[in-house]
C-alpha cells in the first residue's frame, strides 16, 4: 500500500457557480522512503495540491477527491483535531522562503521546541536535549548558542536549516519540500539539497520535492510527476521520463533546459501561457500550445494512461509514435 494515495483530487477556488480549478483531477501516489519530484511551471497547482493535503487552505478552496489517503487514513473525512495530530508530525513541510517562514518574535529554539512539546509531549531537559540534537542534525554550527537566536539574526541558508529541523523533529513519514532552495543562492542550494537527501536516507522518509529545477529532480528523485494547469500530465521513473518523454509538454519542458540549447541563438520555448480561468480548453489542456495538436485533442480530454515506462495524459503519446 502506498504511503500517500491521491486519486482525482480537485481544488476549486472562487464561486460555486464558476469555480476555478487550481487542481483538476490530480492523481499521485508516493511510497514509503521514496523521493518523488513534482515539476511544472508557476501556477500549475504544485503547491496548492500539497497545501490542500495538509489542510492549510483554511476554507479558501473547496477540496474534492475520490481518494485522499495518507498512511491508511482518509484525510478527507477526518476532523480538524485528528488532522492536526498528523500534520507537523507524520507529514511535515518545508517552504520556499526561509526568511519569512520563521516567526520573527520567537527564538529558533522556541519554535523547534514548540513542535516537540506538541506532538511528542517532551518537557524540560529532554525537550532541550532533543532540540539541540535536531540543530546538530541539520548541521548548524554553534548549535547551542543558535538556539537562543532570533530568525533575523540568521542567514537564509541557516534559516532553512532551522525550518528543516522543525520539519523532521517528529521523524515524519512524509516530508514535502516546496521549492526549498529557490530563495537561496546557488552554493547554499547544493548544500541544502544534499542535507535533505541525506536526511531522507537516514530517517527513511518519503520526500516530495516540488521544484522548477529539472537538474535537481534528475539527480535525486526516484519518480517524477510533471504538472500542467492543475493536472499530472506525465509521471514515471526519472530515467524513463527524461529519456523518452511521452507527453509533448514534458518534451518541451526538457527542451527548455538551457544546456539543451547549446549553440542555438535562442533558448527553446513553448509558446503561449498556462490557460487561466476563462480560456480553459474543453479538450486536452495543452491543446492550444501543443505542436502536435489534432482535432480530437481539442474536443476530448485524455486520461492518464500507461504508455511504455511512463503514464501520460495524451491522445498521441510520443513514445508510441517512435515505436
Amino acid at each position: 500500500m502506498s504511503l500517500l494515495d491521491i486519486h482525482n483530487l480537485s481544488v476549486h477556488f472562487g464561486s460555486e457557480k464558476h469555480p476555478f480549478a487550481a487542481v483538476d483531477g490530480l492523481d499521485l501516489t508516493v511510497n514509503q522512503g521514496e523521493i518523488v519530484g513534482i515539476v511544472g511551471e508557476s501556477g500549475s497547482g504544485k503547491s496548492v495540491t500539497m497545501m490542500a493535503m495538509m489542510g492549510l487552505l483554511e476554507g479558501q478552496g473547496r477540496i474534492l477527491a475520490d481518494r485522499l489517503d495518507f498512511d491508511g487514513k482518509n484525510l478527507l473525512t477526518i476532523s480538524g483535531r485528528e488532522r492536526r495530530r498528523i500534520v507537523g508530525k507524520d507529514i511535515a513541510m518545508i517552504f520556499q522562503d526561509p526568511m519569512t517562514s520563521l516567526n520573527p518574535s520567537y527564538t529558533v529554539g522556541y519554535q523547534i521546541r514548540e513542535v516537540l512539546a506538541l506532538h511528542q509531549g517532551l518537557r524540560g531537559a529532554a525537550l532541550n536535549r532533543r532540540a539541540l540534537e535536531l540543530m546538530e542534525m541539520v548541521e548548524i554550527p554553534a548549535a547551542k548558542s543558535r538556539l537562543e537566536a532570533y530568525p533575523h539574526q540568521l542567514s537564509g541558508g541557516m534559516s532553512q536549516r532551522v525550518v528543516i529541523a522543525m520539519a523532521i523533529a517528529c521523524n515524519p513519514k512524509l516530508l514535502i519540500a516546496d521549492e526549498p532552495t529557490t530563495a537561496l543562492d546557488v552554493t547554499i542550494q547544493a548544500q541544502i539539497m544534499e542535507l535533505l537527501v541525506n536526511l531522507q536516507q537516514s530517517q527513511n522518509m518519503a520526500l516530495i520535492m516540488i521544484t522548477h529545477d529539472l537538474a535537481v529532480v534528475a539527480e535525486v528523485a526516484h519518480r517524477v510527476a510533471v504538472m500542467y494547469a492543475g493536472q499530472v500530465v506525465e509521471t514515471g521513473p526519472v530515467e524513463a521520463l527524461f529519456r523518452h518523454p511521452a507527453h509533448p509538454y514534458t518534451e518541451a519542458l526538457l527542451a527548455s533546459i538551457p544546456e539543451h540549447s547549446k549553440g542555438a541563438e535562442r533558448l527553446s520555448t513553448l509558446p503561449g501561457i498556462v490557460p487561466g480561468h476563462y480560456d480553459r480548453p474543453r479538450g486536452c489542456l495543452l491543446s492550444p500550445r501543443c505542436p502536435y495538436v489534432q482535432e480530437v485533442c481539442r474536443a476530448d480530454r485524455p486520461a492518464l494512461l500507461q504508455h511504455g515506462a511512463t503514464a501520460a495524459r495524451c491522445h498521441f503519446p510520443l513514445v508510441a509514435k517512435e515505436a
Partner: protein
C-alpha cells in the same frame, strides 16, 4: 540603551520650547485678563486695575514675561495660581490621580474590547460581525465626545437610573484621599469602617463607568480597526502558515503566532491615543463634573489663570511625550528585531 534614551530625549527639547511659546501666546490672545475676569460685571477703576496687573507682573513687556516664565521653568518653579495662590504643582498632584484613574479605566475598556473585537473581526473576515464591528467603530470614532457623553447620561443615568449623573462619589460617604484613586480609597475606607462606608466602592465604580466608556470610545474604535487590519496582514504571513503546518491548534496559531506580531502597530496606536485621551479628558471631565486635570484646565482658562494654564498644559504634554517614549521602549520588548538593532 542609555545613549538611545538620551538621544530620544534631546529630540524633544524644541518640542518643549514650541509648547511653552504656544501656551504662553494662546492664553494671552483670549480677550480679558485675570483681573477683569475676577472683578466681573462690576466697573473697575483703571488705577486699581493697573496696580493689580503690576503686582502680578503682567504689566511687563510680553517678551520679558516670556523669558521670566522660561527662567522660572528652568529653576523648576511652576508658579502659583493667580486665583487660589496655591502652587500649580501641588494643585496638579492633588487632581491628577482622578484623571489618571479615569484614563486607566478608559484605556482598559478600550484595549480589552478593542483587541477582542479586532481579533474576532479579522478571523471572521467578511462576516456580519466583521462588518458590524467596522461600522460601529467608524461611528464611534466620528462621535463628538460631549454629545456622546450627554446621550449616555440621558439614557443610563436619567431614564434608566443605573448610574449617577456626575462626580466621583456620593456625598454620603466619608472617604479619606489616601492614594487619590477613588476605587482604592473607597476600598480602604470600606475595610476601615464597614458600617459607615458600606457600598462606597461600588458607588465609586458606578461613577466611573460612564465617563470611562465615553472617554474610551474613540481609542476603542481606533484599536479595534488597527487590530483587525494588522491581524489580517500578519495572517497572510508565511510564518503563520508554518505554524499551521506544525499542527498547532487554531487558538495557538492566532494568539501566540499571529497576535504577538500584530500587536506591534497596535501598541503604537495605543501610545498615540494617550494624547487623544488627555484631550478627551478635558471634555469628559467637564460633562461629568469629574474633578480632574481636564476640568481644572478648563476652569483656569475661564479665569485667565495664566500660570495654571501654561504649566498645566506643559505638564500634561510632558506626560504624553513620556508615555509615547515608554511605548517606544515597550516596542523593543514586543519586537526583538528592534531590541537587537544597534
Amino acid at each position: 540603551m542609555l545613549s538611545f534614551i538620551l538621544r530620544r530625549l534631546s529630540v524633544q527639547i524644541p518640542t518643549f520650547l514650541g509648547l511653552t511659546l504656544l501656551t504662553f501666546t494662546l492664553i494671552r490672545l483670549i480677550p480679558g485678563d485675570p483681573i477683569e475676569v475676577m472683578v466681573g460685571e462690576r466697573t473697575l477703576d483703571p488705577q486699581m486695575h493697573a496696580e493689580a496687573m503690576h503686582r502680578l507682573g503682567l504689566d511687563k513687556p510680553l517678551y520679558q514675561q516670556y523669558f521670566d516664565y522660561l527662567s522660572n521653568l528652568l529653576h523648576g518653579d511652576l508658579g502659583l495660581s493667580l486665583v487660589t495662590k496655591e502652587s500649580v504643582w501641588s494643585e496638579f498632584t492633588t487632581l491628577f490621580p482622578a484623571t489618571l484613574e479615569l484614563a486607566i479605566a478608559a484605556m482598559l475598556f478600550a484595549s480589552v474590547f478593542g483587541l477582542l473585537a479586532g481579533v474576532i473581526a479579522a478571523i471572521r473576515r467578511g462576516s456580519v460581525f466583521d462588518h458590524g464591528v467596522m461600522g460601529i467603530s467608524l461611528t464611534g470614532f466620528s462621535m463628538p465626545i460631549f454629545w456622546w457623553g450627554l446621550i449616555l447620561i440621558m439614557f443610563f443615568s436619567v431614564q434608566l437610573g443605573w448610574t449617577p449623573v456626575s462626580g466621583r462619589l456620593d456625598l454620603a460617604y466619608d472617604v479619606q484621599p489616601v492614594t487619590g484613586f477613588m476605587l482604592i480609597d473607597t476600598w480602604l475606607a470600606e475595610a476601615a469602617d464597614p458600617e459607615l462606608n458600606a457600598g462606597a466602592f461600588r458607588d465609586a465604580l458606578m461613577h466611573l463607568i460612564l465617563p470611562a466608556v465615553v472617554l474610551g470610545t474613540i481609542p476603542l474604535a481606533v484599536i479595534a480597526r488597527m487590530t483587525r487590519s494588522s491581524m489580517l496582514e500578519v495572517l497572510r504571513e508565511d510564518y503563520v502558515r508554518t505554524a499551521r503546518a506544525k499542527g498547532l491548534s487554531p487558538a495557538r496559531v492566532i494568539f501566540i503566532h499571529t497576535l504577538r506580531n500584530a500587536l506591534i502597530p497596535v501598541l503604537t496606536v495605543m501610545g498615540l491615543q494617550i494624547g487623544t485621551l488627555m484631550g478627551g479628558a478635558v471634555l469628559t471631565e467637564t460633562i461629568f463634573s469629574w474633578p480632574g486635570i481636564g476640568k481644572w484646565l478648563i476652569d483656569a482658562i475661564a479665569r485667565r489663570d495664566y500660570p495654571v494654564v501654561q504649566n498645566g498644559i506643559l505638564i500634561v504634554a510632558t506626560l504624553v511625550i513620556v508615555t509615547n517614549f515608554v511605548v517606544d521602549i515597550l516596542y523593543g520588548i514586543a519586537n526583538p528585531r528592534i531590541r537587537h538593532a544597534k
